[in-house]
Assembly symmetry: D2
Homo-oligomer: 424 residues x 4
């Protein structure tokens, strides 16, 4: 972890400017009828989960270029996640990936306590073959034509649930790479029937207070068809499985041009929005830093979430899911957590009464302006003040750099060879 005095010193230096900016924004917002403190409190209470695999450097099928001080295992990863939460105050939970993060539950709980974290959804992995594995997932897992392979994949998911129960998780996220690369390779219908049959077995093992999140994705690693290719199929899965099953929306898993915020609204309307994997993308599942490419799109998603707040049973999970190929993963995750907070804060500023009025009268221009006005507001002082109030860093990246954390861990962590790990 980072010495708290480093943070305090940095905050001290930044305090006067922050105070001025915060007060000016408070004055401005009060002229718009908004109480800045109420917004700040909501932002302060907001958290987004970190994926354990996100703290390693990601890569592509062409190469991976690791940095110094890469985490060597789950305990190193939890250290890094702890630093992220220490500096941002926005990432209280970590989502583990099994078997990558398999370890003694007691040790995991101890490390979590040490780093001030708890555990979010468990992630199973049936898209890779592990050494010694009996059946290969080359041609699928939960939907494989071979019963033994499906059984192995189901079994692995049950193990993830069991593991999760022992560390306080309350959800299982299932993403499979199942699909096909050639027209004709798979019978779409039989493949989906097999998927549903396997998923029902997983669902049956779900503890009563758990949720099952299934994730759709248009393509990759399969390049002609994917079993859970879009929200339509994902919805059918959640409906077939039952009330504890919900759909997870990864922002990068859609066809070009698709209106994602509308998908979010539809899933909310039909009671099946499970949560998010936040990231950004320009081309495919690029897994870039959240809001790096299209910050307004993220805002529009949060606009739906804020609009739906208070709906009974509405409680989507929020998680980052990115691949950090050219940045220090800790920095990217900190910035991305803050971008998610930013979109949330902006969405809180939307004048919903005015918006509803414009919608009812088809005043498209003023409806658009109402959203834009909220989006344009620079809420940075609110985010900073929320951090400062909880002794996190006003400027997490600068403070992190000043702390020398990366160089310090690089001294003790083995150097990575560019192969394996960190692949998302």
């Amino acid at each position: 972890m980072i010495d708290q005095s480093t943070i305090a010193a940095a905050n001290e230096a930044a305090d006067a400017d922050l105070r001025a900016d915060y007060d000016a924004l408070g004055d401005h917002l009060s002229r718009r009828g908004i109480d800045i403190a109420a917004i700040k409190d909501k932002v302060a209470a907001y958290g987004v989960a970190i994926p354990s695999w996100g703290v390693g450097t990601g890569g592509t099928r062409f190469a991976r270029f690791p940095g110094a001080g890469e985490p060597a295992g789950v305990f190193d990863k939890l250290d890094d996640c702890g630093v992220i939460h220490q500096l941002t105050g926005a990432t209280p939970r970590v989502s583990l990936h099994i078997p990558w993060d398999d370890a003694d539950p007691a040790d995991l709980l101890a490390k979590a306590e040490e780093t001030g974290l708890s555990f979010d959804a468990m992630n199973s992995n049936t898209f890779q073959d592990q050494p010694g594995q009996a059946q290969s997932y080359k041609y699928g897992s939960l939907s494989h034509t071979d019963a033994a392979t499906r059984a192995q994949a189901v079994e692995h998911n049950l193990y993830c649930i069991e593991m999760g129960q022992r560390i306080g998780s309350k959800a299982l996220t299932v993403w499979v790479g199942d699909g096909s690369n050639f027209p004709g390779q798979s019978n779409f219908t039989k493949q989906f029937e097999r998927y549903l049959e396997s998923a029902k077995q997983v669902y049956a093992a779900l503890p009563a207070d758990w949720r099952l999140f299934t994730e759709h994705k248009m393509f990759e690693p399969a390049f002609y068809s994917t079993v859970v290719q879009d929200w339509g199929t994902n919805y059918l899965i959640a409906r077939e499985l039952g009330e504890q099953a919900h759909c997870l929306v990864d922002l990068g898993h859609h066809a070009p041009n698709v209106n994602i915020e509308m998908i979010v609204a539809r899933l909310i309307q039909f009671g099946k929005l499970g949560g998010f994997h936040f990231n950004d993308s320009k081309y495919g599942d690029d897994d870039l830093d959240t809001a790096a490419i299209d910050p307004y799109r993220l805002f529009l998603v949060f606009n739906e979430l804020v609009d739906a707040a208070g709906t009974p049973g509405f409680d989507p999970a929020h998680m980052l899911d990115q691949s950090h190929n050219v940045t220090d993963p800790i920095e990217s995750l900190m910035n991305s957590a803050m971008e998610v907070q930013r979109a949330y804060a902006q969405a809180l500023l939307v004048d919903r009464t005015a918006l509803a009025g414009y919608q009812d009268t088809n005043d498209a221009l003023m409806a658009s302006e109402t959203l834009k006005t909220a989006f344009r507001t620079d809420v940075t002082p609110i985010l900073k003040m929320a951090r400062r109030d909880r002794d996190a860093a006003i400027d997490p990246v600068a403070t992190y750099r000043r702390s020398g954390y990366r160089a310090r861990v690089a001294e003790t962590r083995p150097s990575s060879d560019g192969i394996g790990g960190g692949i998302v």
Copy 2:
């Protein structure tokens, strides 16, 4: 109509070559274990419906360039559709669009009998304002914020059903342009609730032996969001409405890269495939001639249909829906009907036993080859012989050109001014 002797003379001249090609293909197919006559009979029994609006020259928002002899009204259109069916033997039904084709039902039935046609699904129109209309559809129809506008749109659909009942139609196709052009313009959820409420009123008026087809479309005329934007929403509609409600798939209404044949499979699996609007596209809803851009994609759709044949309750409607901007619409519709037949014939040639075996053993390459082998087979002689057997034209386009039909009707039909009509 075209003088039958013109057809006979053209067929006579083409007969020897056709016989040679057909026999050679028959020999080849018998070596593959396929009886060519059985395929020919299935093709001969197949028909695709013509959209009445398809026989007019289409256009874009930039311009429309009408040809000579454009049909001036529904009776001219039925004449043109009659010629298409006379020459191809493949288009026994016409789908009307109200109010474009509004007329006395008795007159329509008489004209249908004269031209050898019957009536397919009725199409309502709530995406344009008609002269004298009380409420405008500028901001929507079935999902409009204003109750009176919704009621007017519902009423129009009920009128279409009533009209259809009097001319022997058994289905109503509902496509709306409702959506929004700006983030914030519409509340996604309330808009969809209104849509469902209106659609339920239409559904309630459906005769017991009718089906309701709803059509999804990603964008255009709305450019930020569309109420029925994809098959996911379309499925929800069909499920909410009831057993007589099904989803219509227009091949051009999807996001880039989307796997349409898989959507077809999903809708079949869940009992909600209503039918098709066939056309082809490269960029958006281009409404190009069927199979003009990607003939293999059309084949893959038919591969799903042939695979599902025999499933109880499986009976999708087949209709063309194209915009003919640079060709004689009669020629394009004839060719497109033949392309649909071609894809059907090719799909019938798939060795399904072998395919199932390759799928079970994950032999992706041979599964792909099994489909490709069927697709590569030049089934033209089968299509020609099916036409010749029923005294339609072996070569419809050449025979049509020789007949002088277009020049003849151009003498009596008023010239079109490039505005209105034929826009799809």
Copy 3:
């Protein structure tokens, strides 16, 4: 025009809040080392041209829903453009489209003086047939296979130049709909050779102080291929023609996912960026209001422009080009002009020294943050103050609504029938 006292009264009421916001922003920017007044002066000096056709309600191939008080001809259009400039102070020039705006040059100049406007680039129209036209553009214009049609299209462009010379224009924008709807319809190479031959004839007639802007577009109205389909072809045209020829970039004319700001940079680097048609889009050439969908993308374009400012010969033309289907066109154009100004102001705030340093050291995260910091800054007070200083409206839309302008002109302008006009 709008009574100046209406503006003054509205500004008076908004003045205190603006002053407070402006001062607060000035303080904040000065802490970032930026002089707000210098930014404001640059913004105040910035102008974007209005397309004359933009003040009419646009439409799609499905329908057009005109509003009340639509402009009936070029003089009405100039009145509307005058109002836009009066209220925003940001749109000093109008771009005419021939033959839609054909009129006596003396009358045009008189009207321009009356409305405080001047004339930007001339636009030719060879994508529609006009009544009485000898040759049809159904199959192309500058690239048509028929020499007489090409000659007619060239001649029309020469007329546009001549007309433009008489009203003070200094550029001709050429966009053609030429292309094809079927593979095989056109020989790509011969078609482009014909295009180049025709374009050279137009270029030869260009006055020495004029520029020729050619515009690329991926698709629509042609749906298989377009002669000037992308910036690559557009660049080849500009190079073949000569130094006065440049490429025009319409933000909506690209393939999905394409990095437009990079195209802008390439054209600048090779001396061929002619200018812009600003708008926004989600799916195709949606022609939505600028920055309505992805404001960060617009900012990134302006980031390139500000970065290139000062390069010898760098002087791109800025024009809006939108289709206003569901809003009052005057309101949309005012808002869009302000959005362009906003992106310009934000781009001026980029700390370019810091950015260059981050780029040199591959500090991707901080480089991104440097752009985001500028983008996040709410520059609204700067835009407002720039307007207030020149007696334009602090809040143009509200002032316009209060003025009753639309209702007033609706009394004297004929009602529109939903056909023709306003199509972009």
Copy 4:
């Protein structure tokens, strides 16, 4: 290699059916005025190069699932390539990738002679870091901000040329992964200037009888911008470098919906088409088997090539470039080579005189039909006969499976661990 008697036996069994199909097709074609033997001779003379890396199982960033008997090094790869050519007679050349295939040139030449192969274009690799490499390519290679890294990348390319000269290659293919993942990360213009400067150094070292192929790609491994992002930039590179520089078109490297055959035509027209990397894709750079997804698109590319045949200086290089994730790479490469031959044969069947006539008269429908008629022709008997004539296999995949080649090499080759190798 495979025992020639295995091939002879298989051919013997297939001979009668082939003869019947070939004769029937010959009769049919002669009725269309085409001499089947002339087509067969052209097909027999046609060859496409194999990428050495293609014979290994490919993978994605998520996983790689190797098969049995994976080639362990360049000599194993050449054995596999030799088998492909032995069975298909269509792949006489192999394209090497350095440093993956680095070896003693004398040994390479000896192995080539043994396997009946020669060497096609050399491929450099500056998108991965190799053990012991001084500078990292994490942030680019030829366009890196650091001069030493650029120099290292240039040096590597010079080494590839030198190596190629010693094994009879006549071309260097340069594909770089350079780009950026965040807006602002790279200055587009400076980055491209550095690229050009480095590329000029490589070009300067090119022997007089060599060609330099540069390859564009829209995205991946960089996800916001790519230095050589499209054919426009690629063309600029080739023009800046000189006459020996040409553009390589990989079919999977374009934006969604882009008309690739038109790009091919443009590059031909301006003398800069260098060659192809053939594959197929549905979503991104999927690297699927050629013609597996859209066989008509491949035909349309070959339609351009056949149309341009005979143009002075027109001599594009043909190479496969695929990632075989779920098939035996040898089988996929054989099938893909045959698919390329198929498209070539079909394009040779186009009635170009008729097509030119339809194009001149804007008979879009018949122009399209002219292409479709050629495409629909099942040319399989021509391809088979061309193979049989040269003692290759009538049915390469079946013969290969019967030969037991893969099982045999699996006995001696080490098993692969799923990491590294085969990544394309």
